[in-house]
Amino acid sequence: MDCYSLRYLRFRIGGKYLTERHLFLKKDPSKENSIIVSNIPSFVGEDVILAIINQFAPFEVEESFTQRSNASDNSLSQGQLTMSITFLKPEAVIQSLALCQDVGPFTITDFLEEPEFPSVLNDCTALYGKLFPSEEQIQEMADTYVERYDAEQAEARKEAKRKYSEPDEDGWITVTKAKKAAKSMKLKKEDVPLIGGLSGKKKKVDLAYYTFQIKKNRQEKAQELLKKFEEDRKRITQLKQARNFKPM
């Protein structure tokens, strides 16, 4: 048997719900003595899964935890879960994977004393009830938080003050650069000297004097026009493509 291949374990929920389902088991390649169990309905507890596995592979479990859920909000109470089980002994892995396909189907409700599953309706009505704490509670919650917050703030302020005034364990005092009170000089337009004024760059006077300049200018202008024309053409092709586009 290739213990890295995907093995399944048949089970059903029980009661009214008798569809055959598969749990999927696989050796965890990244962790010693561990298997991954997947496709566990979120409403079936971790204990139940462990109990089922214990039925045909009675070994001591060192650690087990739920890794993830496939629900889009990643909530572990929704969707199908993936679980990791670490055994104490390596043979537990081999035995559980070897036997899992031959046993079962197990029935979940057999492992529960009071089989009851969560439902959307109960969840949302329960949540709705929680939305309305009493006014006193609201006030109290606000007060405690704000008190704590104020205390923290005061503490933080003190801490900061201390930093600037008293030396720390190493004997350092934090110093910051004092702000310079340099104000930018504002000049009115008429105050700006005409030649070689404050503005650093000289303005380039666009005077085509030589023939080569005239030529160059003309070429540049033509280039620009051509570029713009190309752009326009591209835009229009796109528009046209969109026009011919048939959504269905």
Partner: protein
């Protein structure tokens, strides 16, 4: 309409616009044109060389039958028998044949004109049907000559509008052959005040003995056959050196065609109008296309209805001009021929309206398509439509009126329609801006084989479309003051149904009273009155085609929705006053914004906007749901408030949240003490009942924005990249969306709904329709409203005025917009994006297309266009939406032209569960948004009864669908109807049917072999049953 009302801020001509225009010009298929030219030459040679030995009496119309050719006037034998001429013999004489290239005046590029030799024409042949009969003989002779050498010869309706079977043309292998006779008579002979057709010759002596009546229409038809070659030659000659003008003409023609004007605005008329501008010197050779287009648009918009205008500089005598303007709505004269004889006032009004909408957009690149390319279905142009069916036998009692100037049945019906239009104008002109009567043809009557009889339509189906004004529903038709001459006339017109009414300003007027209250039924009653009482037609010949049935219950429903919206709005205004005036709270309320569709009536009030009353006796001021009992839905209208500035909020979002919650407690206390309102605070909001409606008050604090921005700034300063996907970045974006973008958008929508009264009801219908297609939740509510805004305020079309037109345009928009290739840009009409901004937006769209969602809707608050479409709809859902919109459009078309009127709303809102793989049936008690038999009302103001905040905004079906998607998003999709749907449709993703055996893909699968897993559908359905306890009654898997 005067042209000076048109905006003058002209957009300069851009290369892009020029390119667009040139690009959309018709591509000359040189091969095709050459082929036509060859055919034309062949016709010329064959006809000129023919030697046909035929000599017959011109009245012998069935002569050609033996050659399997039917004379086009065959069915009018009696009328032809009643004619006389001095040249009774018809024989073949070789005619003059002209082949002409027609670049402007017609879609056909090459046409042939054959002149009927004058030897065959008698000196008074312009009278009655002599000339048409002889012309028919000549056509049959030509058909006979060509028959052997030509593949396909057909008759085709001729005349200026190509709709006249009496003056038919021949179509020879796709080339139109005209027959004319320029020497039939002087053009003056066909002036409108002269009678050339005695009704007695057509309909027999018994009715019209000795009657001599003017026949303006018939004269124009005859005159066309006299002048057609001259006119076309002249127009072509003028247009030939003006390629830009030709291009403009082409664009104009396609604009008019897309808006269904082609029936009446013939290419000849449009060319003549343009030639007139050329002759005036307004259009010259060197003008740019944009300039030419603007000149033409302006010219058409300012075309006066009262003046008689001329193509060239010629003038008729005043008295004759008077005749023209009396007989025709529009006049554009060329040598006594009125090119605009078929255009009515109403068509002109509609065309002007359309052109005015387009004019300011000329020159813009991104509105080119809406102006010149996009085509809207005919029925979407009108706010109200009716289907009229007329059989000529129904008009027999009125034949004396409509038989004049008519040659056949079709003419009689047309005369009736013209008269009907005038009568409607007289009786209900205050109710509409324009109306138009379109013929609905089941098959094409314009061409027929030469061995078939010419069409002799005894019946016509028509579509009457109205663009309504605010007076459409007015229950009164107010006439002139009592005791005047006009009053007498008015009474006569209304067959003494009018009565005297005294108005508030002490006027006493004649009035016809149609109903107690304004209603859609009034206009129906008026039109029915016109048809039944004024034309003695049966009531069944007219049937109104509308979206909603006019049954009393449907009207009551609409009324209820309207009242609900008004109630919410009023309660909101009251609450605003209360909040602003609230004393004794730490910070005063400065701003109050209503953020809800209920305020503008865009949310169906299912089951009611009012809070549900509670029977539970407890001290609590609010109700929580009991176990096993699901209360009907109560909405809560969200209100955002802002408080005066304070520097004491601190720097911690959580602290602000806590402080705000204690503020809610304080506000609630004051609301209870000062205003006796029921107010319940929670941590993040405050619920209040005002006038029976629950409001959810949320404090918006800009301090939070600053803190979040600071956090992001810190992150930026620390050199982090990809701020958008970091936690602070996402929090900031979410806050901005929820408390800035959404409220601003809602404000724009609110003001749009005020200026467009039918906006709310259209959105409601759209929402219900989406629900019926099980697409609730697939489009964000904001997007739903934005789509409606886009459809209503679409550039380059006249804004709709009713649910009918706005909903059909909405469907048209959804089904024709190229979603994957272009963003949808929504303008609220107040300020729109400039050409440059538009171009930047579109460029960005194209660059980012691969990472943008399938639907991109750009508006002022969202320049990228993805704020509300990031998650939904997915591509596959958008495709489905497009498909169902197309289906719905077809249904609307069927409703407009189909024989029987259907209950369209019910048909549109019918669920179809066939496409789904599995169906989840819901417990009826869990469906909390549904219409109830008993209407909820606001509680009476009674100090003894203390209202309680009911269970608000709790819809278990919404919750269930959320969890279904959450749990099964990998393997299935869920579709439901928010508004009272009893089922949820499940579609399994086909790619999940069989997957390789991997731990990452094993969820909801079952092993079938070592290497493959198969989707375990029963497992999924079982899980749905488990999580849906109390909501789901049953799950049903369809057979594969």
């Amino acid at each position: 309409m005067e042209t000076d009302e048109l905006p003058e801020d002209v957009i300069p001509m851009s290369n892009a616009f020029k390119l667009l225009c040139e690009d959309s010009a018709p591509k000359q298929n040189k091969k095709e044109v050459e082929k036509q030219r060859q055919t034309a030459r062949k016709v010329k040679v064959l006809v000129e060389q023919a030697n046909l030995n035929v000599k017959i009496e011109y009245k012998k119309l069935d002569f050609w039958t033996e050659f399997s050719i039917k004379h086009p006037l065959h069915h009018l034998q009696k009328a032809v028998d009643a004619t006389s001429t001095n040249v009774t013999e018809f024989k073949w004489i070789t005619p003059k044949v002209t082949v002409l290239d027609t670049l402007s005046t017609s879609k056909e590029k090459v046409q042939v004109f054959i002149e009927i030799p004058s030897e065959l024409i008698g000196n008074r042949d312009f009278l009655n049907l002599v000339y048409p009969a002889k012309r028919g003989h000549f056509m049959c002779a030509v058909a006979k000559i060509l028959e052997k050498n030509i593949q396909k010869i057909e008759f085709s309706a001729g005349g200026i509008n190509r709709d006249d079977p009496i003056f038919a043309d021949l179509i020879v292998d796709g080339v139109r052959v005209h027959f004319y006779c320029s020497e039939l008579a002087k053009t003056k002979r066909f002036a409108p005040n002269i009678g050339n057709l005695r009704p007695a010759t057509v309909f027999g002596d018994f009715l019209f003995k000795g009657a001599e009546i003017d026949t303006p229409k018939f004269n124009q038809r005859m005159l066309w056959s006299v002048l057609e070659l001259d006119l076309i030659q002249e127009l072509e000659k003028q247009m030939k050196p003006l390629p830009t003008a030709r291009l403009a003409l082409f664009l104009l023609r396609s604009l008019l065609e897309n808006r269904h004007f082609e029936e009446h605005f013939s290419p000849i008329l449009l060319t003549a109008r343009l030639v007139r501008l050329v002759k005036n010197g307004e259009i010259t050779e060197k003008q740019e296309i944009l300039t030419v287009l603007k000149i033409i648009f302006k010219d058409l918009i300012s075309w006066s209805l009262d003046d008689v205008q001329y193509v060239e500089e010629e003038e008729l005598e005043d008295s004759l001009e008077e005749e023209y303007s009396q007989h025709f709505d529009m006049n554009l004269i060329w040598r006594h021929l009125n090119l605009a004889a078929n255009v009515t006032k109403n068509q002109m009004a509609r065309m002007k309206k359309e052109l005015i909408a387009c004019y300011p957009l000329l020159g813009q690149v991104y509105t080119f398509d809406p102006i010149f390319i996009d085509k809207t279905p005919l029925f979407a142009h009108y706010d109200h439509v009716a289907r009229l069916y007329i059989n000529v036998s129904q008009l027999q009692p009125l034949i004396q009126e409509f038989g004049c100037d008519s040659v056949d049945n079709s003419d009689v019906i047309n005369q009736f329609l013209k008269s009907l239009e005038h009568r409607i104008e007289k009786t209900m002109s205050e109710r509409y801006e324009f109306l138009e009567i379109h013929e609905i043809r089941s098959e094409d009557h314009s061409t027929w084989n030469i061995n078939r009889y010419a069409p002799n339509e005894r019946e016509k189906t028509l579509l009457i479309g109205f663009r309504s004004t605010s007076g459409w529903k007015n229950p009164l038709t107010v006439g002139p003051s009592a005791q005047t001459e006009d009053a007498k006339e008015f009474r006569e017109l209304w067959k003494d149904t009018s009565e005297l009414r005294k108005f508030a300003d002490t006027r006493i007027c004649e009035c016809v009273v149609w109903a107690e209250k304004p209603s859609d039924k009034v206009a129906r009653a008026v039109l029915q009155f016109v048809l039944q009482k004024m034309f003695v037609l049966p009531a069944t010949c007219l049937s109104w085609r509308s979206l909603t049935s006019t049954s009393t219950s449907a009207e009551a429903d609409q009324e209820r929705e309207k009242q609900s919206q008004e109630a919410v709005f009023k309660a909101f205004t009251d609450l605003t006053t209360v909040l602003r005036g609230l004393k004794g709270i730490p910070l005063m309320v400065t701003n109050v914004h209503g953020i809800s569709g209920y305020l503008r009536g865009t949310e169906p009030a299912y089951p009611s906007v009012y809070a549900a009353a509670s029977s539970i006796r407890s001290k609590e001021r609010h109700v929580v749901p009991e176990v096993g009992k699901i209360p009907l839905f109560s909405p809560a209208v969200t209100v955002h408030i802002k408080l005066e500035y304070s520097g004491k909020w601190g720097n911690d979002v959580e602290a602000i949240r806590r402080l705000t919650s204690s503020l809610y407690v304080k506000i609630a206390e004051k609301l209870r003490d000062q205003h006796k309102l029921c107010a319940v605070p929670t941590i993040d909001q405050l619920f209040v009942i005002q006038s029976g409606i629950v409001f959810k008050i949320v404090v918006v604090n800009d301090r939070i924005l600053n803190i979040l921005e600071e956090d992001v700034q810190k992150l930026k300063d620390s050199g982090a990249s990809r701020i958008e996907s970091s936690l602070p970045g996402m929090r900031l974006a979410l806050w901005k969306k929820k408390y800035i973008a959404e409220p601003l958008l809602q404000m724009s929508l609110q003001s749009f709904s005020i200026s467009h009264k039918f906006f709310g009801s259209t959105v409601q219908l759209f929402k219900k329709w989406l629900g019926a297609k099980l697409l609730s939740g697939q489009l964000d509510d904001h997007i739903i409203e934005l789509l409606v805004v886009a459809a209503i305020s679409k550039k380059g079309s006249v804004e709709p005025q009713s649910i009918w037109s706005s909903f059909s345009r909405l469907l048209d928009l959804i089904s024709t917009h190229p979603w994957s290739a272009r963003p949808l840009v929504v303008d609220f009409g107040t300020k729109s994006f400039s050409e440059e901004e538009r171009s930047k937006l579109e460029e960005k769209f194209i660059k980012m297309r691969p990472i943008l969602p399938p639907m991109v809707v750009i508006h002022d608050e969202d320049l990228l266009g993805t704020k509300f479409t990031r998650e939904n709809p997915q591509g596959i859902v958008l495709n489905r939406l497009v498909a169902v919109a197309k289906e719905a459009l077809k249904l609307m078309e069927k409703q407009t032209i189909g024989q029987k009127s259907i209950d369209l709303e019910t048909s549109l809102l019918t669920e179809n569960l066939a496409p789904y793989d599995a169906i989840i049936h819901l417990e009826p008690s869990a469906v909390v948004r549904k219409k109830t038999a008993l209407q909820r009302r606001p509680l009476p103001e009674n100090p003894k009864i203390r209202p309680k905040i009911p269970v608000v905004e709790l819809d278990p079906v919404d919750e269930l669908v959320y969890q279904l998607n959450n749990n099964f998003h990998q393997v299935a999709m869920f579709f439901y109807n928010k508004y009272g749907g009893q089922h949820i449709g499940v579609m399994f993703k086909p790619q999940e049917e069989e997957v390789p055996a991997k731990i990452s893909r094993c969820s909801y699968h079952k092993a079938v072999s070592d290497s493959t897993l198969r989707l375990n559908r029963p497992e999924i359905l079982e899980n749905i049953l488990i999580m849906g306890q109390g909501i789901v009654s049953d799950v049903q898997l369809k057979k594969e």
